[in-house]
């Protein structure tokens, strides 16, 4: 399985590993893993879009290192907004982003915020239901991505993930 699939599976194991009351350590790591699962799916798809071919894995890995969490969030924001003047990408897309693509973008934004809270905000506690919901949204993000992968709008999204300061 690819890293992003393994991270999603790991998130599910961590979220459910405690029989009774869930430990914060497991819930927080689950939230973090759910985010990284979607992040790594997107950078895998982005680097494969840019560098195709089975013999070019080393170069693809190098491209994958170039993706920046902040830029991916900015790209997701540009595609999550469906308003008429939402984004410079509207001229490229010619139409609002589809619901599946919007949902991937929204899931990414939410999961990134949750990951920061999980990793750094000790003032609040996570509940099992909250983390199950984050995991469910990450899984839905995977499914919605696969529904649009290879389309013109998905390709535009992958390019936007890398173009710093131009979305």
């Amino acid at each position: 399985m690819a890293l992003h699939d393994d991270l999603l599976a790991q998130a599910a194991r961590l979220a459910r590993t405690d029989k009774n009351r869930s430990k914060q350590a497991n819930l927080r790591r689950a939230a973090s893993a759910a985010y990284y699962a979607l992040f790594h799916l997107l950078i895998d798809q982005g680097s494969r879009f840019l560098i195709a071919g089975p013999q070019r894995e080393a170069l693809r890995h190098q491209v994958a290192r170039s993706f920046d969490h902040g830029q991916v969030k900015r790209a997701a924001q540009a595609f999550a907004t469906v308003g008429a003047n939402a984004s410079p990408w509207r001229a490229v897309l010619g139409a609002p982003p589809s619901q599946p693509l919007t949902s991937v973008a929204l899931a990414f934004i939410e999961l990134q915020e949750a990951r920061h809270e999980a990793d750094y905000d000790l003032a609040r506690a996570f509940t099992r239901g909250e983390v199950e919901a984050l995991l469910a949204r990450a899984k839905a993000g995977f499914s919605h991505w696969h529904a649009v992968a290879g389309t013109a709008e998905a390709d535009a999204f992958l390019v936007a993930l890398l173009l710093k300061g131009r979305t």
Binding site: V82, G83, S103, L106, E110, Y120, T127, G129, A133, R137
Partner: protein, 88 residues
Amino acid sequence: MDVAARVEKALEKMGLPDWVETTHIGPMLDHTGDPAVRVIVVVRPDREAIVRDGEALTALVQKIHAAAEKAGVDVLVYTRFTVSGQAA
């Protein structure tokens, strides 16, 4: 009207699914320091399974997002789900 109040009004107008017990809506700063709104959707305890239904959650988040946009909210709206009565 402040942004969180606008989101609250938009959600009242939108209507929420029957598995939602209540919502808590308030302003926040996200991890990048940008102003945002947080919507906490509290799921009824007898509908706890919905937190594992990514399609249902995603559909509601998209509706919330669209309603907020329509209401002129130009900050991110972060939606989090929790189950009523569930302890941390």
